[in-house]
C-alpha cells in the first residue's frame, strides 16, 4: 500500500467537454515546428519602439541587462569558455521559445498583454539585438518564422548520465578512498557580505 499506484477506476465521466473557444484562450503555446504561432506580423523597427517602452528598463537598450535583471543578447561563442554567457542568441535552440516565452511571461508584471503583432515585432527586435536578424526592416510573422534558425540548435543532446556517469554505479569504497590527509581547499562566503555584481553565485 505504498509505492506503485493501484489500479484505479476509469471511465468515471468526470469533468465536462471543453469547448474549442474556451481552450483557444488558454492554448497559447508555440512549438518549434511553428504549431501554435498566432497570426500576426511585426518588424524590427516596430519592435524597437515596444522594447524601449516595455523592456529596456530591465533588459538594457541592447539586451545587455540593466542592474541585476537578465541579459538578452550577447555571449555568442562563449559557451565553452570559463565564463559562458547564455542568451537568446548564444544559447537558445529555437526561436519559437522566444515567441512563446515573451507572450506568456513578459513584460514582467504584465504578462499576456502583447498583441500578436506586438509579439512578433518585439521578438524580432530581440533577435536583432542578438544578430540573428540583421536587417532592421525585417518583418517577422507566422509565415516566415521557419526561416529563423539559432546558432546553438544542434548543441543539445538528451540526458546521457546513465552512460557518461556509469562509473557512479559502483561498489562504495570504505577505506583509504582518497590519498593522504584531506586539505581544505576553499571556505564559504559569509552570507551577509553582498558580493560585487557578477561576483557572487546566483540562483538560476
Amino acid at each position: 500500500t505504498d509505492g506503485a499506484h493501484p489500479d484505479l477506476p476509469t471511465g468515471l465521466g468526470l469533468g465536462r467537454a471543453a469547448a474549442p473557444e474556451e481552450i483557444a484562450g488558454w492554448d497559447i503555446d508555440v512549438r518549434p515546428d511553428g504549431i501554435g504561432l498566432p497570426e500576426g506580423r511585426g518588424s524590427v523597427l516596430e519592435g524597437e519602439e515596444i522594447y524601449v517602452m516595455q523592456c529596456a528598463v530591465c533588459h538594457g537598450d541592447f539586451g545587455e541587462s540593466a542592474g541585476r535583471w537578465p541579459m538578452l543578447a550577447g555571449g555568442s561563442g562563449t559557451l565553452d569558455s570559463h565564463d559562458p554567457v547564455k542568451t537568446v542568441g548564444s544559447y537558445w535552440p529555437y526561436a519559437s521559445t522566444l515567441i512563446d516565452y515573451i507572450y506568456r511571461a513578459m513584460p514582467y508584471g504584465n504578462a499576456q498583454s502583447l498583441s500578436a503583432n506586438e509579439l512578433y515585432a518585439v521578438s524580432a527586435y530581440v533577435l536583432y539585438l542578438n544578430d540573428v536578424i540583421l536587417d532592421e526592416d525585417f518583418e517577422l510573422s507566422h509565415e516566415n518564422y521557419a526561416d529563423i534558425r539559432l546558432e546553438n540548435e544542434a548543441n543539445f543532446f538528451p540526458d546521457d548520465r546513465e552512460a557518461a556517469e556509469a562509473h557512479f554505479w559502483r561498489e562504495p569504497c570504505m577505506e583509504s578512498c582518497l590519498p593522504g590527509t584531506a586539505e581544505i581547499t576553499m571556505r564559504a562566503r559569509a552570507l551577509d557580505v553582498t558580493p560585487e555584481p557578477g561576483q557572487g553565485p546566483t540562483v538560476d
Binding site: G109, D159, E165, G180, M186, R189
Partner: protein, 401 residues
Amino acid sequence: LLGGKAVAQTAAGDPANLPPNVADWSRYLGEGVAVRAYGRPSEHESHVIRRDVEWLTASRESSVSFTPLHELDGPITPNGLCFERHHGGIAELNPQDYRLVLHGLVDRELVFTLDDIKRMPRVNRAHFAECAANSGMEWRGAQLNGCQFTHGMIHCVMYTGVPLRVLLAEAGVKPTAKWLLLEGADASGMTRSLPMEKALDDCLVAYRMNGEMLRPENGYPVRMVVPGWEANMWVKWLRRIEVGDEPWYHREETSKYTDLLENGTARKFTFVMDAKSVITSPSPQAPINHGRGFTVISGLAWSGRGAISGVDVSLDGGRNWRPARLDGPVWGKALTRFYYELDWDGSPLLLQSRARDETGYVQPTKNELRAVRGLNSIYHNNGIQTWHVTAAGEVENVEVS
C-alpha cells in the same frame, strides 16, 4: 560514560521557573481550546523560518526561499517551512475559479473544476521535491555558509493526489501522443514538457500536502507531482495539460534547466534527480554547542531513482567511511533521515555523507562531478558536501582535496 563526564548544561534559565521553584505556567490557567482555530508554532521558535538571500536574485518574485533544514528532523517537512521557488510570485487562486483544461491528442477535450478533481480516486505518497538548481551555487566551490542555503531547495511532504494516468484515461489518450505540456496559471505561465511514459507511471495531480490543501506558495489548489524528477516540472497552479507528440522546448527546458558542459554542448531532458545527501546537524547554522562526548550527526538522503539503500559518513574528508543508521520510513523518491552516533573527542572533523540508492548509484564527490560536467552546468549538483567542524564546535562549509 563516554569520553568523560557530561558537559555543563546550557546556561541561563529564569531560576523562578527551575526546580525546586514552580513556574507560573504550572499555577495559572493557560489559553483555552479553539482560541487558536488554526495553530502556529511557539513564539520561541520564531527563528525557524524560510529564508532567502537577497542578493542571489534580481527580485523576490523570481527567487527562492530555503527550507531551514538545520532546524528540522525526521523525513517530513512541515507545511509552513517548505521552500519556495517562484518565477512570477505567488499566484493566489480562488478555488471556485480553478479550472484544469486537458486537451490535444485526446478523444475528449475536457475541463475540470477543483471539485471534479477532489472527487476522483486518489493516492497518498510522500515524495521529495528538489529544485535542480539546489546546491547550484556550490559548483565553483564552498559558497554559502549553511545547509539551509546550500541544500534548502528541497522538501518532502505526504501528497494526496489523482494519478495523472486516471485523468488522462478520462480524456482518452490517442496512440500518437508522446509528450504532455504542463502549464501553470501564475504570472510566469510556467510550462514544462513531460514524457508520456512518466506521465502514465507515477505522476500525481496533487492538491494536498500533509493532509491539508496545498499552500498558496506551493501551488494551491493543484500542482503536478513528478516523483524523483526536478521540481521545476512539478508545475504549480496547474491550469492546462496539452497532449502532444513532440516536446515543446519552452524556456524552462532550454534557456534554463539544461546542463552546459565544458565543451559547450548541453544536456537536455535531465529529468531525474541523482542520489544525494547532506548532514543537517552539525552544520554552519547548527554548531556543536555541547562540547565533546556523545554527538548525533543527523542528515537527509534521497534519490530520484528509488529508495535509499544506505548512507555512509566520513569524519576525515572522504578518506574513510562508516555506515550510518537509516531511521523511520524509507520511501522511494522521498527524503530518508539518517543518523550517525559518535563519541566526539573534540578534534576537528571534515564531515561528509554519501548516499547510496537501490539502483547501486553512489553519490559522487564534487570533484568527480566536475570532472564530467565542468563548472558551468548549474544544475544537478549532487556532490558530497563537506563541513569543517572546529574544536570549538563551529562548522563551516568547505571543500577538500
